[in-house]
């Protein structure tokens, strides 16, 4: 069933209103519980890809009895095809900083970090300048909150929140066992709220305009807007803020080049949707209105009919083989097996039926990997092989 949603563009995040001082004042005048309620009723979910309810995260962290807590902005934007967080930090950094203060105010933190991926080193000076100005202002209004930029060192997996903590603690960025979760045991073992850059920017919108304005956008279970990083075979690559819940059909109509064969939703760890399923696929979180609903960190890669899906898959698997942290068996060995496996099938060293063995392996990887990323590394494999099996075979 096709959704009737047309693409609804929005313009909140990048609207440069230069009103952060007022918004900050408004936030600080409210008590934490009200702010939490505001967030919960907005139904904002994490925009990094995992989609955990933001209000709940802040609430749990606020309830922890600890003198030291941290707010961390996750700017380790490493998912292939995603580049929205960079734009936010470049264009509206103060929104993110204001949101971090809001979070600190809610949970009772005095220190915050922006974990910035090493690839974005060129943003660092500018960002630190803004932080200086921001901190200066905070001092003027007697607000005790420090923000530091922590530079990543080049590891995709550090986008996983517990791996990010490990990395900040000076260790290898290997995801931890969960539970405990970051809200109780985060950076340096302290309760920590870690939010994606975009998530924080949305909280700015919510605190400024109220939850209702945000809630009224999007569809049930997928409220509000979301930034999409559009790349691949498209005449207009770039970043777009759209209401959630759109159908992929409408999306392709707007952004495709007229020959779109498939769209990879959610980057290398996401799913490939072939043309025949565009109409039945909605972009949003689980709890669906339509046939399939795909959450996404916002990476939308379009492929036209000139592209070999084998090459696409090969590229993704190569990526994961390198970027898996390597600690857990299903992800470390599984990624190698998938990659070598499709090569073997392509060269006819293994029969086509070997793909089915590998598909069963992807289930195991999904069930047993230690972290969220490890659980999703095989998504591209299963969706591409299921839909483009003929392209995988010799």
């Amino acid at each position: 069933m096709a959704t009737s949603y047309q693409l609804k563009r929005a313009d909140f995040i990048f609207k440069n209103e230069n009103d952060w001082e007022q918004v900050l004042g408004k936030i600080l005048s409210q008590n934490p519980q009200d702010l939490i309620n505001e967030l919960i009723s907005s139904e904002l979910k994490g925009r990094g890809g995992a989609g955990f309810p933001t209000g709940l995260k802040w609430k749990v962290a606020a309830e922890q009895p600890s003198d030291t807590k941290y707010v961390i902005c996750n700017a380790d934007e490493g998912e292939p095809g995603t580049f929205k967080d960079r734009e936010i930090l470049q264009r509206v950094p103060y929104k993110v900083l204001t949101a971090m203060v809001a979070c600190a105010h809610v949970i009772g933190a005095r220190e915050g970090f922006i974990y910035l991926r090493n690839e974005y080193w060129f943003l660092r000076n500018e960002l630190e300048k803004v932080i200086d100005e921001f901190e200066y202002y905070c001092k003027e209004i007697n607000l005790e909150f420090k923000i530091k930029v922590f530079m990543g060192s080049g590891a995709y997996i550090c986008g996983e929140e517990t791996a990010l903590f490990e990395s900040m603690e000076g260790k290898r960025g290997e995801p931890r066992n969960k539970p405990p979760y970051p809200t109780t045991w985060g950076y340096l073992g302290k309760p920590t709220v870690i939010n994606n850059v975009e998530t924080l920017a949305h909280t700015y919108t919510i605190f400024k305009y109220g939850a209702k304005k945000f809630y009224d956008l999007g569809v049930q279970y997928s409220r509000g807007t979301k930034l999409f990083s559009v790349s691949g075979d498209t005449p207009k690559p770039g970043i777009y803020e759209l209401e959630l819940g759109m159908s992929l059909q409408d999306f392709v109509y707007e952004f495709g080049d007229g020959d779109t064969k498939a769209v990879q939703v959610g980057g290398a760890s996401g799913f490939l949707v072939p043309r025949k399923k565009f109409a039945d696929t909605a972009i949003g979180y689980q709890g669906k209105l339509t046939g399939i609903s795909l959450p996404t960190g916002g990476s939308m890669m379009l492929f036209n009919s000139s592209r070999s899906m084998y090459n696409v898959l090969d590229n993704y698997l190569e990526f994961f083989r390198e970027e898996s942290c390597g600690q857990c068996t299903p992800c470390r060995v599984g990624c190698q097996q998938l990659l070598i496996g499709i090569k073997a099938v392509k060269r006819a060293e293994k029969p086509a039926s070997y793909l089915d063995k590998l598909l069963r392996l992807t289930e195991t990887m999904q069930y047993t990997a230690k972290c969220g990323l490890g659980q999703s590394v095989a998504n591209s494999f299963s969706s591409i092989v299921e839909n483009f099996r003929e392209e995988m075979i010799y």
Partner: protein
């Protein structure tokens, strides 16, 4: 204190468990075994092999049993189809990355991965073998340890062992993704880094990725050579560990059978390291008293206290790397193995009218660092290599099996003489605290003329498995020549596992502790938990071995080193006096400062 239990169900059967307990422990308490690989009782939980995954009702994803705490109402399935299929996949994945040429593996028959593969009947290799895609290296440079990366399953038990138990950190995890591997600093050879050769990594390795360098064939050859006189010495902890490799439960005492087996293997003389353990006590005890006299009476500022034991070669290399400024605090006594070696090719050779170069001196040790120790350039004081070959308990067990000896059915025999007589004090060298206890038994008696004031000579405060233990003995009413010790409270510390050695040394360094004498053993539990002992090891197993050691002691007729008649004879006939000239030449040694980084 009573804690309220929570209700869970495992495979449909209700169970009550302590809150916070992991699924793995809860299952084990309820008689269900969940397979593990990266999990080890001695180490913190890693949760990275994923072999222990179980299904929790209501969750799509499986949970690692070792890392997931039980919650009220949890319904756990440890053997559902989903669990079985996933587990099988994971074992297959590990095998695809593993050099599974089992028949050529040193750990063939005692490998956790092999066991799992057998249990799950992995009969085919469906996944593509990954070995040809990678370059693996085998590091054979260390005289003690061989590291074969092709057999590594990256469970990181060795890394955690080296860091958590030993505080050495010679091993680390390096790189990521498919390149992730267990490595040393800059991928140097094990003998070129801070490795202490303790071998705990071997004991904790589930596969054959870390094994001892074995000298079995060399020893067989020596035995077969009619022109050689092959002498073997056996360390105290071997006799209570060996049985585990040969069908006995942990904690079985097999001294007599071990001696019989060694005789049947063809050794010309089966002797006891316990003899030189007793000798060590005389030398080291005298050294301690001499140091105390210099410090207390002569006010000699150069004399270093506390004095630390020097029997454990892992500890020696550790202090050489980590605290080189404290080398003068080490007793200059060689370890019992090396004292034995030096005496075999001098005293023993002379007494038995043998050419020293015709003697092959073999030692059976619970230890891999002893292989390194025997190889040190300082250990040639007899004019020859004092100890030619060092075998671990495990290697001896292999030889016994190779020789077709039915160990269980063996009669009991006694050690041969010259250098085969020992005391209860010698045997407790094998347990943490044992050297301290043996030394106190002798030193106290030398000073006061009376036995140590403990029931049955059992100095309880230095026994046990606490990482660091402290004890003090007040000296009252000493003999006239030890008058200066009257009223002195002799303060001692005992540590085992190098991470505990660090604790002690740091407090010595900071000046927060004022010990006179410290005993340090590199391995958890002391030698009985040594890196050359049977695999597996666990706190329970080490506890049982300790009980066996102390039982050996209490069954000995003579329980104080200075009462060992052969030791007394040795002084009369050869050494003349403790710390004398010959002692200095043969029984004492020097240490070498090494780089920490």
């Amino acid at each position: 204190m009573t804690t309220k239990k929570i209700n869970i169900s495992i495979n449909g059967f209700p169970a009550q468990v302590k809150p916070g307990i992991t699924i793995l422990d809860a299952a084990s308490d309820n008689g269900i075994i969940i397979p593990t690989l990266c999990y080890h009782k001695d180490l913190c939980v890693a949760g990275n092999c994923r072999v222990c995954v179980v299904e929790v009702a209501g969750q799509k994803r499986l949970s690692a049993a070792c890392a997931t705490p039980c919650e009220e109402g949890m319904e756990i399935l440890t053997n559902s189809l989903k669990v079985r299929n996933s587990r099988k996949h994971i074992i297959e994945l590990l095998l695809s990355e593993h050099n599974a040429d089992c028949t050529k593996c040193y750990r063939n028959g005692n490998c956790e991965l092999q066991e799992l593969a057998s249990e799950y009947k992995i009969m085919t290799q469906d996944f593509i073998e990954l070995l040809p895609y990678k370059t693996y290296s085998v590091d054979m440079y260390s005289p003690s340890i061989i590291k074969d990366d092709s057999k590594c399953i990256r469970c990181q038990r060795c890394v955690r062992t080296c860091a958590e138990l030993q505080g050495v950190n010679a091993l680390t995890v390096a790189h990521k993704g498919d390149h992730m591997k267990i490595s040393t600093f800059m991928e140097k050879a094990m003998n070129a880094v801070v490795c202490t050769n303790c071998g705990q990594c071997i004991n904790h390795c589930p596969t054959g990725a870390l094994v001892e360098k074995n000298y079995i064939e060399e020893v067989w050859e020596a035995i077969a050579n009619p022109s050689k006189h092959v002498v073997v010495q056996t360390a105290p902890a071997v006799r209570i560990g060996l049985g585990e490799e040969l069908g006995f439960e942990p904690g079985s005492r097999n001294t007599g059978k071990m001696v019989s087996a060694l005789k049947r293997l063809g050794f010309d003389s089966v002797l006891d390291t316990d003899f030189t353990a007793d000798l060590t006590i005389i030398e080291e005890g005298t050294e301690l008293l001499t140091r105390l006299k210099k410090a207390l009476v002569d006010k000699d500022a150069d004399v270093k206290l506390p004095m630390a034991t020097s029997c454990s070669p892992g500890w020696i290399k550790y202090i050489e790397h980590m605290y080189p400024e404290y080398l003068d605090n080490l007793s200059t006594c060689k370890s019992p193995q090396q004292m034995f070696g030096a005496l075999v090719k001098t005293y023993y050779a002379k007494a038995r009218n043998l050419e020293p170069d015709k003697i092959v001196s073999v030692s059976i040790m619970p230890c891999t660092a002893k292989k390194f120790e025997a190889n040190r350039p300082e250990m040639f004081d007899s004019g020859y290599r004092d100890v030619d070959y060092v075998l671990t308990t495990r290697e001896l067990a292999i030889m016994i099996k190779q020789a077709g000896i039915n160990f269980k059915a063996l009669e009991e025999s006694k050690f041969d003489r010259l250098m085969g007589e020992s005391t209860g004090a010698g045997v407790i060298f094998g347990a943490t605290g044992g050297v301290m206890e043996a030394a106190l038994r002798t030193a106290y008696e030398i000073v006061t003329g009376r036995e140590v004031p403990f029931k049955n000579l059992e100095i309880a405060p230095v026994r046990g498995m606490e990482g660091v233990r402290e004890a003090s003995i007040k000296i009252e009413n000493p003999k006239p020549e030890w008058k200066f010790l009257d009223g002195v409270e002799l303060k001692c510390a005992v540590a085992h596992g190098l991470v505990n050695a660090k604790t002690v040394m740091d407090s010595v360094k900071k000046g927060t502790a004022s010990y006179h004498f410290i005993e340090i053993m590199a391995c958890p539990g002391g030698c009985l938990g040594g890196g050359g002992q049977p695999i597996p090891t666990s706190p329970e197993i080490r506890q049982k071995r300790a009980e066996a050691i102390y039982a050996e002691d209490s069954h000995m007729q003579i329980r104080k080193s200075h009462e060992n008649p052969e030791v007394q004879k040795l002084y009369r006939d050869f050494l003349k006096e403790p710390l004398g000239e010959i002692s200095h030449k043969l029984l004492h040694t020097k240490y070498l400062p090494r780089e920490r980084f």
